[in-house]
């Protein structure tokens, strides 16, 4: 299964909504909670619709619009999204209102927009797109499952151009709750020095990323997404290593064919070891890159990695801010993304030059 990436749109804690800025300047945060940099939403969304939209809905719809414009495709055959928590702020809002008002005097807006499929629905309404529309909520596999569905639709010939999205929003309540579970670092760090912290926990983040996938070759395509694989709760690093070898083999490649490994290092000493294991065992001679110091960790952060990889392939550049270890090869032909969410959900994506 494979698909070309024709267009991209992303809202993140970096200036990623500007097409010409490929992490030329990066923003560091002295906090363990990262939030997106907002574009001027009125430039993308009708003000009458905008006023009722929550933050994540604005992010998602705008990222989708940027992607559609970038791709030059006005009407997709399907809209598929993945999200771990959906529109969590609106969920918090109406639950809080229920508590505060003793289940009386509840307004409809937050409730309507609290469902996980709000964004895919809103995008479909905006486009008047009555085709296949689905949202996957599978924790750390949410984006991967949405991507898998997209690849299967394309492989079976049931769709030729698919608007695929991955999004999650951060919130104070969510951060504080998951902080108690030991997800985040106790000490405040500068996000750009994430890997120097050498402590447990990471930084929380958010983002909305959309891709236009197509089965058609085109000079404007960013990259070819050649493969996707997931691995749930591996027993040890050896199993991840073997899974990586098998994944590459299925795509007629070996570790030596990979020009760049984009990994999900997040500065958590408890779970980063597997990435260093893969580097030492398989990719000692390969350039590396990481990204969670730029966007934080969240269920669908692998979408950020795919955004990074597709842009790197198209522009043939690995931004300084994400480089790790060896300098990248002069020509980037194959990029392997290896990411895991809390050592539970492992995903592998292979992105190649068209």
């Amino acid at each position: 299964m494979k698909a070309y990436i024709r267009g991209i749109g992303q809202i993140s804690p970096q200036q990623t909504f500007a097409k010409d800025d490929f992490l030329d300047t990066v923003v560091g945060y002295n906090t363990n909670m990262l939030f997106c940099i907002d574009p001027v939403y009125k430039e993308f969304i009708n003000p009458l619709q905008l006023r009722r939209m929550s933050r994540t809905l604005r992010m998602g719809v705008t990222a989708a619009k940027i992607c559609l414009t970038d791709s030059g495709i006005e009407m997709p055959d399907a809209v598929i999204t993945g999200t771990g928590f959906g529109c969590i702020e609106d969920t918090e809002k109406f639950l809080l209102a229920m508590l505060n008002n003793n289940e009386q005097q509840l307004t409809p807006t937050a409730f309507m927009q609290s469902t996980h499929n709000t964004i895919s629905g809103q995008v479909a309404i905006m486009l008047k797109c009555k085709e296949y529309n689905s949202t996957y909520v599978n924790r750390g596999f949410s984006f991967e499952t949405a991507l898998l569905d997209s690849l299967m639709l394309i492989a079976e010939g049931n769709a030729h151009k698919i608007l695929l999205g991955g999004f999650d929003e951060n919130s104070v309540n969510l951060h504080v709750t998951t902080e108690r579970l030991g997800h985040w670092k106790k000490e405040k760090i500068n996000s750009l020095q994430l890997l120097e912290s050498k402590t447990s926990g990471t930084i929380s983040g958010e983002g909305a990323t959309f891709f236009m996938l197509t089965d058609k070759e085109d000079v404007n395509n960013y990259a070819l997404l050649k493969g996707l694989s997931t691995l749930y709760k591996p027993e040890n690093e050896k199993e991840v290593e073997q899974h990586t070898i098998d994944f590459l083999k299925r795509n007629n490649l070996s570790a030596a064919d990979i020009d760049l490994v984009v990994c999900g290092l997040n500065g958590d000493v408890r779970t980063d070891g597997v990435y260093y294991h893969l580097r030492d065992k398989l990719f000692a001679e390969t350039a590396g890159a990481y990204f969670k110091h730029l966007c934080g960790d969240y269920y669908t952060s692998s979408a950020f990695a795919l955004w990074l990889s597709a842009n790197a392939i198209k522009k043939q550049v690995v931004p300084e801010a994400v480089r790790l270890g060896k300098s990248p090869a002069a020509a980037l032909k194959n990029i392997l993304i290896v990411n895991h969410y809390r050592d539970i959900n492992y995903s592998f994506m292979l992105v190649s030059q068209c």
Binding site: P47, L50, R51, T109, M112
Partner: protein
Amino acid sequence: MDALIVKLKTQIIEQLNLEGVSPDDISPDDSLFGEGLGLDSIDALELIVLLEKNYGLKIENPADGKKIFATIRSIAEYITANGKA
């Protein structure tokens, strides 16, 4: 009445998240729905909750809603008539 109208304008702008709209932009006699401010049925629900929550007024007969929510002034008159101003 004038003070209530100003207060209502502020509450409606906040409740309906009317970004970029200030109280001075809304005339007390402007239509709230259709032409004028262009509110819709979801906004109507928000206004019903606003009246109940802030003024303790429940609209028992839905048919009255159209008349009550015609303009800011008509809402203010309804609140005053019910002794909740």
